[in-house]
Amino acid sequence: MSTFLTILIGQILVNNYVMCQFFGICPFLGVSKKFDTALGMGLAVTFVITVASFFTWLVQNFLLVPLSLEYLQTLAFILVIAVLVQVVEMALKKLSPTLYQALGVYLPLITTNCVVLAVAINNITDGYNLLESTFSGCCAALGFTLSLLLLAGIRERMELSNMPKWMQGFPGALIMAGMMAIAFMGFGGLI
């Protein structure tokens, strides 16, 4: 039980993939202009990462290790992720056309969100079992969603404020992200 608590706090706050490790910066900066799209993106990513952590663990331990093909890890994992994203896309199209419309172009982009692959690889490096891998994937994704939502909220406010012209857009967002990262460093002593 304590392992799970450590994973929960570790993945969401202490080792937050975006704020403390620099993964998934592209969607973090690209999709954080509006709170609503950020939320949709966060949920879609959460789903993909959780399921991907489950399947990549199975692929690693039942396919790559028995056949001693560990060097094909990158290739195998990215294929699993690409297939999953495709499946999610097709499922959403049939089941919930509204959500599918809202996410639009961001859905296929999840394949190239490096958080997904980083979590899958780190689960293997950290030696988690199947349950821990899936749980850690879910928590990492929630951490990603949390930082995405925080930045989106701040940027919506920044739109209204009177910023110097040279700070508007990406430079302002980057500096704001830096401040957030300083705040997240405060969680460092939790574990």
Partner: protein, 214 residues
């Protein structure tokens, strides 16, 4: 530019990637390695060169296969091609440069999801002949290398008081530890973008004045 025709030249494509559409500062692509590995100038250079290698070869092969790959399965096909080259460079680094591989860590494997490579495959290599695609790969790759080297030099200078491992700051200088951490990366990149936008604006203004005079 004297050549105003639409025809793409090797040199023009190369310079486009290097300067005009610099992947880091103009297109905002490939941000994760840009921020993740740039605590020391050497890491920036090696990460940039590894990415350039993958970019050139994936562009070349995607361009060669562009008429064979069916449109429907192009994304998985691109991913397989890119991942093969990433695996190659990863294994080569593990064999010949194990220390560097240990520092760069997962980021080498993550070249496969670097959006620069994917974006160039989709928007350039899939539509253009092999020679031009190689030029585009080289230009984009070196543009990326130069940008992240610059960023890592600034971060290393303030974070450790050195450049490429040589101490340049006086002994009394207190290194700013935060530059080596995540916040330092974000803030340095933000400040550098402000500077680069200002330079671009000045260059554009000068261009306009010269046109007016002529």
């Amino acid at each position: 530019m004297a050549d105003t025709s639409k025809k793409l030249t090797f040199w023009g494509t190369f310079m486009n990637g290097l300067v005009t559409e610099n992947p880091t500062f103009t297109l905002m692509l490939g941000m994760c390695p840009t921020l993740g590995v740039t605590t020391a100038a050497m890491n920036g250079v090696s990460m940039g060169l590894a990415t350039t290698f993958v970019l050139v070869f994936s562009n070349l092969f995607i361009s060669l296969l562009r008429n064979i790959i069916p449109d429907k399965v192009r994304i998985p096909s691109y991913i397989v091609i890119i991942a093969s080259f990433v695996t190659m460079i990863d294994l080569m680094m593990q064999a010949y440069l194990p220390d560097l591989r240990a520092v760069l860590g997962t980021y080498i494997q993550l070249i496969v999801v670097n959006c620069i490579i994917f974006a160039r495959a989709e928007s350039f290599a899939a539509k253009n002949p092999p020679a031009l695609s190689v030029a585009d790969g080289l230009g984009m790759g070196l543009g990326f290398t130069i940008s992240i080297t610059l960023l890592s030099m600034v971060r290393e200078l303030f974070g450790s008081g050195s450049v490429f491992g040589y101490t340049v700051m006086p002994a009394s200088y207190q290194p700013m530890a935060i530059m080596n951490m995540v916040p330092g990366g974000f803030i340095t990149l933000g400040l550098m973008m402000i500077v680069i936008n200002a330079i671009k604006k000045m260059a554009a203004g000068r261009g306009r004045r010269e046109e007016g005079l002529a």
